[in-house]
């Protein structure tokens, strides 16, 4: 999917972390080494006159392999590390980053960052969290798999070749391929704050995908994808199984057509529903609440979804894709119930949002190396139902959505409209594939109008969702 966005707000300055281990002589990312650098920077910045200092150091290495039509197309290996600093001086905040780790450069960086803060205006709410709120320990969340580093380029290419071959062999209608790929990231994260905490952890992640293509009428192609991802190599699906599932999904799209404009029940696959849940928890952010940019701003402790809906944010999920033992301000993370029996129980807050709203942080601060702390979710889970997912399709007429496109969600009003593709259902059966339509509603109606949840929780990503059925939505087509 290719896209264009109008971004009136600044691009996050990228000081990314990605990057190699097995072949290059670059050392494996080490949390203890990162923590030492973070602590050194902390003391340099305090010496330079800062009242409060937070340092984030991230060191990562990556391997990415892409294969197409049986041949390697890309092998990318690299490592990168960067340091992000937030300093507070006289209640004024500056956020800076660098990838130059030489001692003299770091010392100058500390001084200039403190100097920069003078340009901001005083805001006592921007001060660091209180010492009493700092994490006391760093829980072990089982995020590291040694065997990830053992996957070399030949192994990765072999998996990709096998996965792609399985897809191409599945059906003669699979006529082309956008390839298959393997990726792994090995990362160490360290954080030190003058509020009284320093800690570090490390994690691995591996992923694998296959993307077959079918030819359809009028020169149209149909592409589909299936993927597997985990923190542990052994938990990945077999390459062949991924390839076959990708091919099955792609072939099913051949002959897709538009349908007439209508109002029907809409069933979202876990992949499609993931986006809806992501947008839903996004408007539960305390930052959006004090900025009055969420339609849920005054809805705490009221019904915001169907009475059987429960959504949690769980940073402590063992092996979770987005698990974190402490947040980006050094506070101990905890499992939060966001929606309980359809009632919005809490907004997610970092320290600033919490102070704005006169409450306590929920330890939900996240941060990229190149930016300051802001409210983020970790592992978001929409608890599955008990109904077998397939039986959610037992409707007289309806739409099953597999793919959503575009940016049609207005957080301020909850108005929702996205491009969609999937299947038309009659009498409980998928009749034909559908594309080039939109589904629309308002989030308040959509979430309160959910009338069934499947039992098929998809745990591959950090937003874990089952199949979701909405009683009625507007489908725009012919």
């Amino acid at each position: 999917m290719n896209e264009i966005m109008n971004e009136p707000l600044p691009e996050r300055m990228s000081a990314g972390a990605s990057g190699s281990a097995a072949r290059s002589s670059r050392p494996v990312p080490d949390p203890a080494a990162c923590r030492r650098i973070a602590e050194q920077m902390l003391s340099s910045a305090l010496k330079a006159g800062a009242d409060g200092v937070e340092v984030l150091v991230r060191d990562a290495s990556e391997l990415e392999v892409k294969v197409r039509l049986g041949e390697a197309e890309l092998v990318k290996e690299a490592g990168s590390r960067a340091l992000g600093l937030r300093v507070i001086k006289d209640h004024r905040a500056a956020v800076t980053y660098t990838s130059d780790f030489s001692p003299s450069a770091l010392a100058a960086f500390a001084r200039e960052s403190v100097e920069l803060a003078r340009l901001a205006e005083p805001d006592p709410l921007a001060d660091l969290p209180a010492a009493v709120d700092m994490a006391r320990e760093v829980p072990e969340l089982d995020l590291w798999d040694d065997s990830v580093l053992g996957v070399g380029v030949p192994q990765a290419i072999d998996w990709a070749v096998r996965g792609e071959a399985a897809a191409r062999g599945f059906d003669p209608r699979v006529t082309n391929s956008d390839g298959a790929g393997f990726g792994r990231v090995v990362a160490a994260t360290a954080f030190a704050t003058s509020a009284g905490f320093s800690g570090a952890y490390r994690g691995t992640s591996v992923s694998f995908y296959v993307e077959p293509i079918c030819d359809d009428a009028d020169g149209k192609k149909r592409n589909g994808v299936y993927w597997t991802a985990n923190r542990f190599v052994a938990a990945l699906m077999d390459p062949e199984a991924v390839g076959l599932e990708a091919a099955r999904r792609t072939v099913a799209k051949v002959g897709a057509r538009k349908i007439a404009t209508c109002e029907v029940p809409v069933i979202f696959s876990p992949e499609a529903a993931r986006g809806l849940v992501g947008q839903f928890v996004g408007v539960m952010s305390g930052g959006a609440v004090w900025r009055r940019s969420t339609y849920l701003a005054s809805r705490e402790n009221t019904e915001v979804a169907a009475p059987f809906i429960e959504i949690v944010d769980d940073p402590l999920l063992p092996r979770g894709p987005a698990s974190r033992p402490f947040d980006a301000e050094g506070m101990a993370t905890k499992t939060l119930v966001l929606v309980d029996r359809g009632v919005l129980k809490t907004f997610l807050c970092d320290t600033y949002a919490a102070r704005k709203l006169g409450r306590r942080s929920t330890a939900s601060a996240g941060r990229a190396v190149g930016g300051g702390p802001h409210v983020t979710t970790s592992n978001v889970i929409l608890r599955p139902g008990k109904t077998p997912a397939a039986s959610l399709e037992k409707v007289e007429r309806g739409l099953y959505v597999t793919d959503l496109m575009g940016f049609g969600f207005n957080a301020v009003t909850g108005d929702y409209s996205q491009g969609a593709a999937g299947f038309w259902i009659e009498n409980g059966e998928r009749i034909h594939p559908v594309s080039e339509i939109t589904v629309s509603s308002n989030f308040d109606d959509l979430w309160r109008g959910v009338d069934a949840l499947g039992d098929d929780l998809d745990t591959r990503s950090s937003v874990q969702v089952p199949t979701v059925r909405v009683g009625k939505m507007t489908v725009a087509g012919l």
């Binding site: 691009e11 905040a93 960086f109 575009g406 207005n410 108005d415 629309s440």
Partner: protein
């Protein structure tokens, strides 16, 4: 963190570059290039009437690419020590596996045209000057209407230096400044709450703000106007109807409907719905679509692409006929063509891909008023937040943030945010009128492909699409 008069890239000379290229090719690679990058940036965020945060950052690195056939080996490093750079070169070189002796490579520095010469980087100006722009926008937004309850303003600036050295002997340096400014406003009338945004970007220093359409007051009042206007917006209709796209931002239609589909990598792999259609009619004969990387200080303009090739004015569709693709090095070799200056990448951490620069639909003959007047009942689209396309089947959507109902040839009710959905070739065949009012959008457009973001420009005149699906909630 003042800008060093000498960036770390200045110390990279032809001799060191040749040594790195030789290391990259020692395993038998056919072609190699080095992409050195130095980026220095700052950003300012302003909300609730005060400067909330100031940010500053510097990134330096080298990306090494080695080709063997269509296969790419890629590695990068942020440390520009000789040892680390040689390490990256050898890692990228492992894509090949038939070691050979590499003789001395000769590289020759080239001097580029300068399409966006600026006197002084905005980063050299004191922060206070930039904060004054933020305040002006904030005041303009608040002064627009008492119902404006919140304003956020941001400014970001970047100074980017690149040095590209290729094993076929080219060595080029370029400076690529970028400034961007954005305002978002929230309006409340006791019952409803709505948001509006306005922003602009380009390759400028602080003289950017002297352009009338980029003045802080303009963006402030425009964000406020959009938020206030939406307070009385009605539900949009659902279904097929005529759509009139206003000039400028509607270029998003070209970007999504045809732009991505005409990037050569998809066509080399035959995964685009435009594959094998060169010479064929793919749009209404009114349509001429161009990608032009040489347009002054526009956001998508470049003096050189990220593979060391000069940008060009590339006609992609001429009077409805498909005449060309946007090429990078790998694809141009495949198609036996010269590179079109479209090889771009997000940073030294990324391999180059065929990408758009400034992509637009050329002007037609019609008066914009006549186009609106020709519609009995339809939608007029003015502002957009973004769009997305599926390359394979050509389906695309774009999201409207300001639109109006057209009734009996006149703009009537403002509509709530809505998506338009269409299919590239089908929608371009539906272009039935084209205005003479071409405009390039000055907006903050950022294009995403394969996880890489690059700045782009878009433009169109007023366009009438005879039939298109409007994704509203009101059944007609």
């Amino acid at each position: 963190m003042s800008i060093p008069t000498q960036s770390p890239l200045q110390s990279i000379d032809a001799e060191l570059a040749s040594r790195l290229l030789a290391a990259a090719l020692e395993k038998g690679g056919e072609y190699a290039d080095l992409f050195f990058e130095y980026r220095s940036g700052a950003d300012f965020s302003f909300e609730e009437g005060r400067v909330r945060t100031v940010g500053r950052g510097i990134t330096t690195g080298l990306g090494v690419r080695v080709l063997r056939g269509d296969a790419t080996g890629y590695a990068y490093t942020e440390e520009l020590s000789t040892e680390r750079m040689l390490d990256a070169a050898r890692t990228a070189g492992q894509i090949a596996s038939s070691p050979r002796a590499v003789g001395p490579l000769s590289v020759t520095p080239r001097v580029l045209q300068s399409l966006y010469a600026i006197d002084r980087s905005s980063l050299e100006h004191p922060g206070e000057e930039k904060i004054a722009f933020l305040r002006r926008a904030d005041q303009a937004a608040r002064a627009y209407d008492a119902r404006i309850v919140r304003v956020e303003v941001s400014l970001s600036e970047e100074w980017k230096e690149i040095l590209i050295v290729s094993s076929d002997g080219r060595m080029v340096r370029d400076l690529q400044p970028m400034i961007r400014f954005g305002v978002s406003a929230v309006a409340e009338d006791g019952k409803d709450r709505q948001g509006g945004r306005s922003g602009g970007a380009g390759r400028y220093g602080l003289e950017f703000f002297l352009l009338p359409e980029q003045a802080p007051e303009h963006h402030g009042s425009e964000a406020a106007r959009l938020a206030i206007g939406m307070l009385k917006a009605e539900e949009a209709p659902a279904g097929m109807m005529p759509v009139v796209l206003g000039p400028g931002e509607s270029g998003i239609l070209l970007h999504e409907a045809v732009g991505h589909g005409l990037e050569a990598d998809f066509n080399r792999k035959k995964t685009s719905n435009y594959s094998d259609r060169l010479g064929g009619l793919v749009a209404s004969e009114l349509c001429t679509v161009v990608d032009d990387g040489t347009m002054g200080n526009a956001r998508g303009t470049i003096n050189v692409d990220d593979e060391g090739n000069a940008p060009q004015r590339n006609v992609l569709i001429e009077n409805g006929k498909l005449v060309g693709y946007m090429q990078d090095h790998i694809s141009s070799r495949h198609f036996g063509q010269t590179p079109s200056g479209n090889g771009r990448r997000q940073s030294f951490r990324h391999e180059p891909l065929p990408r758009m620069t400034n992509t637009f639909l050329a002007a037609g003959q019609d008066a914009p008023e006549d186009i609106i007047r020709s519609v009995q009942r339809g939608v007029y689209a003015k502002h957009f937040s973004g769009g997305q396309v599926n390359i394979s089947n050509g389906d695309f959507v774009f999201s409207l943030t300001e639109s109006y109902l057209i009734e009996d040839g006149k703009l009537t009710a403002p509509l709530k945010g809505v998506n338009l959905i269409g299919n590239g070739p089908e929608t371009l065949r539906q272009v039935s009128m084209l205005g003479h009012d071409f405009r390039l959008s000055g907006g903050t457009w950022t294009c995403g492909k394969d996880g890489q973001s690059v700045p782009v420009g878009i433009g169109t005149p007023t366009v009438k699409i005879a039939q298109m699906t409007v994704g509203g909630t009101r059944k007609s």
